[in-house]
Symmetry: C4
Amino acid sequence: MAEIVYPEERLRQKIQIKDATLRNSLSEFLGTALLLFIGIGIVMQFILSGEKLNTWIQVNVGWGMAIAFSVYACSKTSGGHLNPAVSLAFVTLGRLSVKDFICYSIAQTFGAFVGTVGAFGIYYDQFIKYAGNQRTIAGPKATALCFCSFPALHVAGTALLMFFVCVIIDKRIAVPGPAHPLLFGLVVLMIGTSMGMNVGYPINPARDLGPRIFMLFLGYGSQAFTYHSFYFWIPVVAPLVGAVLAAWTYHLFIGAHIPDPKPIIVQDEAKQPLRYA
Amino acid sequence: MAEIVYPEERLRQKIQIKDATLRNSLSEFLGTALLLFIGIGIVMQFILSGEKLNTWIQVNVGWGMAIAFSVYACSKTSGGHLNPAVSLAFVTLGRLSVKDFICYSIAQTFGAFVGTVGAFGIYYDQFIKYAGNQRTIAGPKATALCFCSFPALHVAGTALLMFFVCVIIDKRIAVPGPAHPLLFGLVVLMIGTSMGMNVGYPINPARDLGPRIFMLFLGYGSQAFTYHSFYFWIPVVAPLVGAVLAAWTYHLFIGAHIPDPKPIIVQDEAKQPLRYA
Amino acid sequence: MAEIVYPEERLRQKIQIKDATLRNSLSEFLGTALLLFIGIGIVMQFILSGEKLNTWIQVNVGWGMAIAFSVYACSKTSGGHLNPAVSLAFVTLGRLSVKDFICYSIAQTFGAFVGTVGAFGIYYDQFIKYAGNQRTIAGPKATALCFCSFPALHVAGTALLMFFVCVIIDKRIAVPGPAHPLLFGLVVLMIGTSMGMNVGYPINPARDLGPRIFMLFLGYGSQAFTYHSFYFWIPVVAPLVGAVLAAWTYHLFIGAHIPDPKPIIVQDEAKQPLRYA
Amino acid sequence: MAEIVYPEERLRQKIQIKDATLRNSLSEFLGTALLLFIGIGIVMQFILSGEKLNTWIQVNVGWGMAIAFSVYACSKTSGGHLNPAVSLAFVTLGRLSVKDFICYSIAQTFGAFVGTVGAFGIYYDQFIKYAGNQRTIAGPKATALCFCSFPALHVAGTALLMFFVCVIIDKRIAVPGPAHPLLFGLVVLMIGTSMGMNVGYPINPARDLGPRIFMLFLGYGSQAFTYHSFYFWIPVVAPLVGAVLAAWTYHLFIGAHIPDPKPIIVQDEAKQPLRYA
C-alpha cells in the first residue's frame, strides 16, 4: 500500500540539518525566543495593566507553562535547556561538549533578545500608553522589570531548578519522558511561589542578559547595567554556579544511592535478555 | 460466553453515520457549541458578577479546560479543531481537504452561535439584572465583551496556539495521544496569561464570529460589526494567517530537523519487523 | 521464596465483603462522606474567613481535587459515582440495576449527611465565632451557603458533568483508566468557573440534600426546605434529568459515530487474536 | 560497542551506600530539608511581602508542588515519607521496621531544621526589614507563622493525607508509580483549600518541630513552646494518631473489599504465567 507522504515530510527531506550542533543551536535559539516572547508577554501584561489583568499566580502559572511548552518544542533536538546554567551543568555531567555549551549559550542569549523584541512589539502600544517617554528603572511607572530582574534570590532558585531537573531525568527515578517538560514547568511554578519575591525569575543568565541588552536600544541608558552597583553580572554568574552545585548535590546525596533493581529471570523460549522489574 | 451489548452500542448500530465529512462536521458543530457554551459562561460569570465570582486566573484556567474537554469529546471523530484557523493550517499540512475545511468552518461558526445562545439563556436573568435594557459596547455596564473580543493580540495568540499544537502532535515528539487535549488546554491557559489583555481570546474566527452574529439579534445594532473601524474582520482573518505561518515555522525550524531514531535489531524468533527505541 | 503477607492483606482475607451491592454501597457512602467532608470544609473556610483564606479559585480547585481523590478511592469498587444523578444515568446506560441505584442513592445521601457533620465538627469553633447564635439563610452573617446551594444553574452544570464523564470513560476515546478521576476533577473545576455563580455546585442531589437535612438539626428551621418557594427540590430533581439527557446526547451526536479502528493482522507464531492499532 | 560511562555513574560506583537504613535516612533528611526550604520560603514570601507577592492560592499550589517534587527526589530510595506520621502509619502496615521509623523521624526533624535555616538565610534581609528586632508570636509584625503553625486542624488534615496516600499506592487502584508524587502534591493542595485556615499545614510533626526548635535560636524565647497552653505538642502527636487511623480506615472500608480481577487465560506457546486483565 502506498503510504501518504505528508508535505512536512517532503520539506524535511529537503532541508534537514545533519550537523547536530547547528540543529540543536537553532532549537535552543527558537526555544529561548519562544520562552521570552511568552514570558516577557506575561510580565508586560502584569505590569502594563497595573497588576490587574495578571496577578502573581498567573505570573507563576504562565512562566511554568512557558517553560513546559518551550521545552516540549525542543525535546527531541537539543533537549530544550533554554538556559546556559542548565547547559553548563550538563557539561559537568558529560552530556554536552564545551563547544556545544558555547554555541548553546550564544543561541540562547540571542534567542532571549529576539523574543524580547517580539514581546515588546506586541505590547508596544500598551507600553507607550503606560510609560510615555519614561524609561526608568525605579519609581512609579518604572518599566525595567518588564525586561529583567533586579536584586533577588539567584543561586537558590537556579539550584532548585537544576536539582529537580536531575531528579526528573534520572533513569532510575523512571518518570516517562513525555512528562518531563510538564514537570519542569511545575518546578518553575513552584520556584516562583517560593523564591520569587521578584517578577523576573532570575534563574537563567540568557533570560536576563538578552532583554538587558535590548534595554540599551530602548533608551534606558547604561543604568540597565550599572544599576545597583553593577548588579547585572550576578544573575548571569550566580545561576551557573548554582546549577552545577545542585546537579552534583543530587547525585552525591540521592542519585548515587538508588539501588539497582534485581534482575528477574523471565522464562521464555525467545531467549530475550534479562528484564528488570 | 455471551458478551453484554450495552444500550449505546445498540444505538450505535442503528444510527452510525458512515459519511466522514458529515460525521466530523457534526462533531465540530457540537464541540464548538460546547466550547462557547462553557467559555461564554465563564466570561458572563466574570462580567456579570462584577469580576467577583470569577477573577482573571479563573478565566484563564476555565478556558483552558473548556478547550481540553471539548477536544477530548471530538478527539476520535473530527479531531476537535473547533477553530477554522486550526482547520486551515491542517489543510496546508495535507490533513484536511478544502471541502472539509469549508464544512468544518461552517459547522464551527454555527456551533459557536448555538453555544452562545445557550450560555445567554443560562445567564439571561443575571444579564438583564446587570445590564437592564442597555446593549452597549463600551462604557459602564457594557456587555459586548460577554460575546466577543475587541482590539487585541490576534496573530500572536493564534500563532502560539498552532505552533504548540504542531509540537504536541508531532509523532517524533512522542507525547501519548490521550494527553494531547489536556496539553492543548494548558497552551490556551498559557496564552491567556501572556497575550490575553482581553477577555475574549481572539484566537479563533468561529469563536468570534458566532457570538457577534448573535449580538445582531440581541439589539446591539450594527455596531457589533462597525465598531472600531469595522474591526470585526481582524479576529476573523488574522488567526487564519497566524495559524498557517506558525505551523510551518515549527516544521521549518524544528520539526524537520528532529533526527530519526536508529533502528535497533531485536533478536527474536518471531521475525518481527525492526523496532525503534 | 516466601512472599511477605502484609497486614492489610490478612485483614482483607478476614473481612472482605463478597456481596457486590453491599460493598459498593459502602464505598459510595464513604466516598460521598469524604467528598462532603472536604467540600463543606472548603466552603466553610471560604465563608467563615470572610472570603479571605479561600478565594473563588480555591473553591474551584479544591472541589475539583475533592472529586478527583474521592473517586480514586472508590474507583475499583463502586466506581465512585458519589452522585445519584450520575448513578441514574448509568442505569439508563445499562451499567447499574435499579436496585443498586436505590442503594447507591441512599448511601450517597447518608454519606453526604455524615461528611457534613464531620466538617461542621471541625469548623465548630470558627462557625460559632462567625455566626454566634444566628442561623439565617440570607443577609449578613448568613451561613446557609455553608451547607447547600440556592437558586442557580442546575441542569446545565450536571449535564456538562455527565456529558464529559461519558467522553472520558468511552473506550473508543481511549483515555487510560488511572487518569479518569483526575479528569473528572478538572471537569468539575471547569464547571465551577463557568456555571458556578453559586458556591454550592448544585450538580449533585446527594450533595444538596444531605447537608440540608443536617440544617434541620442545626436550628435553621423549615426554611432550609421552604426558602425561595420550596426551591429545595430543584437541585434534587434537575440534576437527575440533566445527567440522563447529557449521557445520551453524547452517544447520539458523537459516541455512536466514532469509527472502529481497522484490524491489523499481526504476523506472529503465537496465533494471538487480532489486535487493534 | 563501548557504552559511555557518565561521570555520575563513576561517582556512584565509588560512594554508593549499601546500608539501606543509612541510605534512606539520608534521603529523608535531604527530602525534608528541601521540603522545608521551599515551604518556609513560600510562607516567608507570603508574610514578608504583606500577602502581596504570594496569595493563599500560591501557598496552596506551592506547598503541593513542594511535596510532589521532594517526594520524587526520594521516591526510589526511602520512598519520600518526609513526615513521621506517614512513617508511623507505614510501620503499622508492615512496610517499615520500628528501628527505621526512629531513624527516619530523627532524619526528618533534623532535615526540617536545616531546611528552615536555609530559607531563613535566603530571606534574612527581608525578614529583618519586615520585623526589625521584634520576635513575636502574635500581633502586628508577628513572624512566628513563618516557622510553624498555631491552633488549627491537625488530626483531620493528616488523616486525609494518609487516607489518600493509601488510595494512591494501593496496587489494586493501579495508579502508575511515576504519577504518585504528583498526586500526593495535589492531595496536599486540596487539604490546604479545605482544612487550611492556617498557613502552616499542621499535618507533619517534623515540619512543625524542626522550625520550632530553630525559633529558640532566633530569640522568640520559650514562647515557641509554651504559647497557647503548651500547644506545641498537639501538631506533633495528633498527626501520628490521625495517620495511623486513616490508613486503616481506608483498608477496613474500601481497600479490603476491592475484588481481585479474574485471571485471563492467555493462549500462547511460551507458557507464561497467567496474566490479569
